[in-house]
């Protein structure tokens, strides 16, 4: 890997499209590559028969926002038989400045036996859930899915106020009262 470290700002011309491929933080316009963010210019050579990739390592990361396929951490705010409404707080490990709204529709809770899913037996308000964005959704909410082993509730509080620990992929136990509550749990990674 060869690299030339150099600080650049948006709009700065970095090279010709015949010399480089556009990487992250850059864009091409009329045969030239320009920086689109503030950061440090990097040139990565992948193989000899391909053009080196020109990218800009961001200095300040943009405030996190959900994108399709991103893994998000969110808090359940409301449930009804059709979906659970959540506030998306963290996207791909980066906290959002302001929470985005999302919903987990009943058909997206788990991958199998979708007809048997009851939202109330999967999520309760206050639960912290790990989910994946499947669509930009409608005007208001992103659509999320928990249909994978590692997705689901990662932290919850029981009716009695104790914290819950998962005992199976669909049950959690209160640390105070040992009462068992149903949830769609995430398998720890």
């Amino acid at each position: 890997m060869t690299s030339v470290a150099d600080a650049v700002v948006p709009g700065q011309r970095l090279g010709h499209v015949q010399e480089f491929n556009a990487g992250v933080g850059t864009y091409s316009h009329q045969n030239f590559l320009y920086a689109s963010v503030v950061g440090v210019k990097q040139i990565t050579t992948i193989s000899s028969d391909e053009l080196p990739v020109l990218s800009v390592q961001r200095e300040n990361t943009q405030s996190a926002m959900p994108d399709i396929d991103a893994i998000v951490t969110c808090k359940v705010v409301r449930v009804n038989p059709r979906f659970a409404a959540v506030n998306i707080m963290v996207v791909d490990g980066k906290p959002c400045t302001d929470d985005f709204q999302g919903i987990i529709r009943v058909q997206d809770v788990r991958a199998t036996e979708k007809d048997k899913v009851k939202i109330y037996n999967s999520f309760r308000p206050g639960d912290i859930v790990r989910a994946q964005v499947i669509s930009l959704g409608d005007a208001r909410s992103y659509y999320l899915s928990t249909a994978a082993n590692e997705l689901g509730v990662i932290f919850g509080t029981s009716v009695a106020g104790g914290s819950l620990v998962p005992i199976s992929w669909q049950e959690m136990q209160c640390t105070k009262t040992k009462a068992i509550e149903p949830r769609k749990c995430a398998k720890p990674m």
Binding site: I134, S135, D138, Y143
Partner: protein, 319 residues
């Protein structure tokens, strides 16, 4: 650069001719309205009423659309023209939104993408609904709707897209359910959009016309009209993938554009002079318009002349 300033004018007698023609056509078409035709003939100055105006105090009459009864008198509830069929009195409003029937061909614009459905502006009181299950999905007529389709509705139709469709049903609230489950329906391309009063588009056997000047016209019964460059109508050959394409065809020539603009302006001229619009009269209007340069066609006088000439030509044809 060109611009022209004019003073406003009162309606001339010419307008009168055109307007009566329009009414006359209406009568020709619908035998059931003979009574009204008669009354219109008897009284050539139409009976125009405003909301709250007394139509008759004769208790023998029955109340129809656009009227109400107070103290046993029939009053108008809209501004419009009085229609009488035997004992039934109704008022045809001057301005109206589209009220349709099942089977109508309509042109609409997508206004919202919702869950499993699109909302479509149809020039009616309520937005129409196009269900995801009422469209042909790419991949063949037989392809079934999948869950993934619900998440990518915008790849088929997005906000702003124009569609031609057929009224399929009514919802309880009066909104129209429309469908595009035929290859002649779907997304509109290669042309421009005109809106006229829905009452002016005549119901006929076909609403898809290929005019001799190489221009296709879709006359939506809701008053939305699409004028476009001609594309071959061989439905068998249409690739279903292309149904949802946003790309216009590459070979629209300047001559095509001029013809499209000319036809569009003819339709505007007819609509502005309250002449019913159908394929025949559009063709005559096109003939009549050829004596004017294209850029003069937005002038009021030219528009009127075209409308008058076209109506006269239709009359002559019918003898």
């Amino acid at each position: 650069m060109s611009i022209s300033f004019h003073s406003p004018a009162v309606r001339t007698t010419n307008d009168g001719v055109v307007r009566r023609r329009a009414v006359g056509h209406d009568m020709d078409l619908d035998d059931g309205l003979e009574g009204a035709a008669e009354s219109a003939m008897k009284d050539p100055t139409l009976h125009v009423v405003t909301p709250g105006e007394l139509i008759t105090s004769d208790t023998a009459f029955m109340r129809g659309h656009g009227t109400y009864i107070e103290q046993e008198k029939v009053l108008s509830s809209v501004a419009g023209v009085v229609d009488r069929v035997n004992k039934l009195i109704s008022v045809r409003p001057l301005h109206t939104r589209y009220t349709g029937e099942i089977g109508d061909v309509v042109v609409g614009r997508i206004t919202e993408v919702a869950q499993k459905r699109w909302k479509v502006d149809l020039n009616a009181r309520l937005d129409g609904i196009l269900m995801l299950s009422s469209v042909n999905l790419p991949g063949g007529v037989q392809r079934r709707k999948q869950e993934s389709d619900e998440l990518q509705m915008r790849t088929f139709f997005m906000e702003g897209d124009l569609v031609v469709a057929e009224v399929q049903n009514f919802f309880a609230d009066g909104a129209y359910s429309i469908h595009t489950r035929s290859l002649k329906y779907g997304k509109l391309r290669n042309g421009s959009f005109i809106s006229v009063s829905p009452g002016l588009v005549q119901r006929s056997k076909s609403h898809f016309h290929s005019l001799s000047c190489g221009v296709d016209v879709i006359l939506g019964l809701n008053g939305y009209i699409w004028v476009s460059a001609h594309v071959s109508q061989d439905l068998e050959e249409i690739d279903t993938e292309q149904v949802y394409s946003n790309k216009n065809k590459e070979d629209i020539t300047p001559a095509d554009r001029e013809s499209i603009a000319r036809i569009a302006n003819c339709i505007r001229a007819l609509a502005q002079n309250f002449v019913f619009i159908n394929a025949t009269i559009i063709s005559f209007a096109y003939e009549a318009s050829l004596q004017y340069p294209l850029k003069d066609m937005h002038k009021k006088e030219v528009m009127r002349d075209i409308a008058v000439e076209a109506t006269t030509a239709v009359d002559n044809m019918r003898g």
